[in-house]
Each structure stands twice: as C-alpha cells, then as structure tokens.
Amino acid sequence: MFSSHLSPFTQYEVVIGLEVHAELITKSKMFCSCSADFFGAAPNTHVCPVCLAMPGALPVINKEAVAQTIRAGLALNCTIAEDVRFERKNYTYPDLPKGYQITQYELPQAVNGWLDIDTPDGVKRISITRAHLEEDTGKLVHENGASLVDYNRAGVPLLEIVSEPDMRSIDEVNEYLTRLRQILIYIGASTGDLEKGAMRMEANISLRPAGSEALGVKVEVKNLNSFRAVRNAIAYEIARQERILRAGGQVEQVTMGWLEAEGRTYVQRSKEDAHDYRYFPEPDLPPLRIERAWVAELAASLPELPHARRQRFVAQYGLSPKDADVLTAERPTADYFDALVAAVGEDMPAKKVANWVMGDLFRLVNDNGLPISDIPVTPEKFAGLLKLVAARTINANTASQVLKTMFKTGEGAQTIVQREGLAQVSDAAALETLVDRLLAEHPDEVARYRAGKVQLFGWFVGQVMRETRGKANPGVVQKLLKDRLNS
C-alpha cells in the first residue's frame, strides 16, 4: 500500500484504536458462585467445577454483571441491544480451562456509543464500536521450564470496550483512557485499579501519509497493563513503522506483545498464524432478552457523569474548566464539594470555597492519606469554618490553623476558635490603641517611612499581627496604619 515513491518528507498520520478490558465489580464470578474477590488469595482457592471446566458443570449468568455492562454501555452513550447472546471463542491455552472463552460476539450487549475527550483543538468525539461482556482467564506463572496455573481469576466478569480507530496522537489515547477509567469508576462498574490488573489495554496502530483517507496496515499490541505502557508501546510502534515506511518497506500485519522492562514490542504471531476462533453460540446458555423497563431502571441508577458534572461546576459555581476538572476527577471529591457549597450557602462564593478545598483541604487529605469521604472534617464542619471567615470572625491564616486542628480532633470550628481565643480583633478602638503604642515605640521607623521608605509599611502590619497573635483584622490594621502614618 505504501511504496517507495513516497518522498523522505512525507508526513505520517498515526491512527489508533483501543480495546480496553475492565474487570467488573461483582461479588461472584460470571458463570459460577465463586468469589470474584480473588486479588492476593492463595492460588486455586476461588474455584469450582464450573470455572475449572469439569465435565458436566453448567454455567449460569450473573445478573449483576449484565446490569453493570448495561450501565457502562449507557454511560458510554451506546445503544443497548435487546437480543444478546453468549458465544464460545475457541482456542487452546492453559489459562483457559474449557478450551474456549464465553464471550459476546455477534450480538453484543452495547453498540455504537461515543466518549468525548478534550484536545488542544477542543472537544473530540471518539466512537465506541461495542461494549460486551465476557469472562476473564486464569493466570500463568512461568517458572523453571514449567507454567503454573492459578484459576482464581478464571471466570471473573470482564467488560470489553472497543473504540473505533479515531485517535490521532498519544495524548488523545491518554485522554480517552483517563476519561473512560473515570466513567467506569464513577458508575461503580470497575475499580479501575491498574496496579491490580483491573484494567488491561490493547492498541491497534497504523500509519498513513497525512491527508490520506485509506487506512495503513495495522499492528495490534497486546498485554498493556498501565497507561504508561500504552503510551510507550505506541511511541515505539510509531517510530518502528515510520522507519519501515521511510525505507520503502511495508509494515507487516502482526500481533505484538510489549516488553515493559526492555521498552520494545515483539511479534507474538503473524497474519498467517492468526487465531481461528471458530465462534459459535454457547449451547449451555439461553439467549438474553433485555427488557426495556430494566434498561430504564439501570439508566435511572446512573450518577451524574464526570463530563456533565464538570460542565455543571463551571456553569453553576462559576469555576474555571481546570478547577472543575480537578474537583470532579473523583466522585467522592465532587460529592464533598457539592455538599460543602450547599452548606456554605450564600456566605461565600463557590469559587472561593473551591480555593479552600484545592488548597488547604487537599493538602491535609494528601498528608493524612484518608479518602475524602472519611475525613473528620465533614462538609458541614468545613462550612462552619468558612462561615467564620466570611463573617470576618477569623482571618484566613487563623482559619488554616483551625482547619488543621479540626482535622486532628474532629471538633467544630466555633469550638476551637472560642477555646483558643482566636476570634479576629476587628474592634477599631482596641487596634487604635495598639497601633498608637507601636508607632510611639518605633520613632525611627516612622521617620524613615515618612522619608520615603514605604516598604516599611509591611513591617508595621507585621508588628501589629505579632502583637495580636495573628488575630487582627488585616483590613482594619492597614487602614489604621495608613491614617496614622500618612497624616
């Protein structure tokens, strides 16, 4: 397809599609009642005749896994199929005890969806071909010339989400994966925990001369277990394919693996040994007929999705898109913020509340390593503190200190402010006396200030704050000092 008449100045466009496998959050496996919570368990302790493929054992569909797949399909703007069936995908490998994987092929659960991503040129819509349900495989450990097999993971419900080849850069891929993972976590379909293998990726990569409509020969890279591995593998493949094309060669259609430690892809199989899966309908499972009422019920159970929530935070709270993105990145944080703004009410603009959350609160949350939903400073308590700031009972510095104490003790802001006598001194008469005394004690500085050394103004403010242990209302102090020094 690409021949040597291309000049060395030809620019190539990269075309990328992704397949993402996400383990669904269920109590039991896809077709048997073994616990799906296998992570860290001793090998072959979550197995039964069904997931070990013992003769005569029959699968039964886990309803919750189907529900989660439908919810994910809805969240990805897919059409939810009415007629769905499982099929056998036949291949022989020791991680697959039956010699086939039960999956959805011809009649998948969800089709024709999309996911919007942010790019430097604005929002881009990535089409989603399908989202279907299947079972995970066992795990192999290679050791001393033998392979050891653990079937705890075999039969765990797995959601596969296939995109169209709509991505044109590594940044777009990264954004797609980030948004997809965020949605799956938001709706409670998957933990998205990459370190525990809850999400695994495959990328289809091809190059074509910029401006060309025809697709180049694609290479599929499998076993990508982190977003970093996806980025690195794609960068490696782009460079490799470009080198071949520039040398006048042709890219071979192959399936590759990724060696993370060595940072390179390797050929797993060529087109000639492409698997012939011989799919056929699973005779042990009657087809599904997905009732529309059930779909409607599941749609109603979806939370506000990240994209919509981001837009609402901008529109309703007047936040910048960037701040809205930070505050909606995780659902518990967004829930906290919504509750906090509601509790603060009209007393403080939401934008200012956001600064408190992203500054002081995030610092404390990070330092303590607690999920935001479990911190002792509830939205109501935090609102109590911010109301004291809004009413100028305490100043911002004091509020930071009080927040730290609240985090430690779980007390309310008012309690701490009263006990420690932290209420701000706004009483002009009291501050006047103090300012007058300070000016009388420092005639040299006063003289130098009046002679033009205006930087000393900050020093005077500092003295007043020190005398009041930070409690003086800075506005009142500044006004008093200006009046006195400039008269």
Binding site: C34, P43, N44, L148, V149, Y266, D276
Partner: protein
C-alpha cells in the same frame, strides 16, 4: 464435497494443539471429509423463511443473583491435576511468540 487437503487437516490439528503423523493426517483427511459430507445433508433443508436462531429452548434470561459461595477445597480442585506445585496446576511451559 471435495476431500480435505493435508494442509487443512494440519491447520485443524494445530488449532487443537495436536501433533499428527503423516499417516494420521491422511486418515483424518478421509474421516473428517466423511463427517463433513454427512453434515452436508443439512444444506438441503430450505431455510429461506426460517429466522436465524441460537437456541430452540423457550428459555430467556436465565440469570442468577450475584451471591458468592465457597467453591472447592484446593486439594479437591487439584485432585485430578496431572501435576501441581504450591497449589498451582503445573503444565508444560507455554509462551507465545518469540521474544
């Protein structure tokens, strides 16, 4: 139907991870062709007005609630394994592709 070629038999054997001798390939080419011929009779049925179906059972939506129950004890799970090691099933080394 024409008889299966040795290459086709070899391909099928590879999909099933079976190693066949020359004699076996020749024998299975005949046997498998005979089976295909037998199944070929189905092609004579007129299915023009039959809706494609994956199941003749009147069953739909046979699903179970998501409840976890203990499975087999590891000793029982491994009882029939040809070989095991540290609680794992042990098989010949498998690696796909050349790294």
């Amino acid at each position: 139907m024409p008889k299966l070629t040795p290459q086709e038999v070899q391909h099928i054997a590879e999909l099933a991870k079976l190693a066949l001798s020359e004699d076996e390939i020749e024998r299975y080419a005949s046997d498998l062709s005979a089976i295909l011929d037998y199944a070929q009779q189905l092609q004579e049925v007129d299915t023009d007005h039959i809706h494609p179906t994956a199941s003749v059972l009147p069953l739909r939506n046979a699903m179970r609630p998501d409840e976890a129950r203990p499975g087999l004890e590891p000793e029982d799970a491994l009882a029939n394994a040809p070989a095991s090691d540290k609680g794992y099933f042990k098989v010949h080394a498998v690696l796909e592709g050349s790294q």
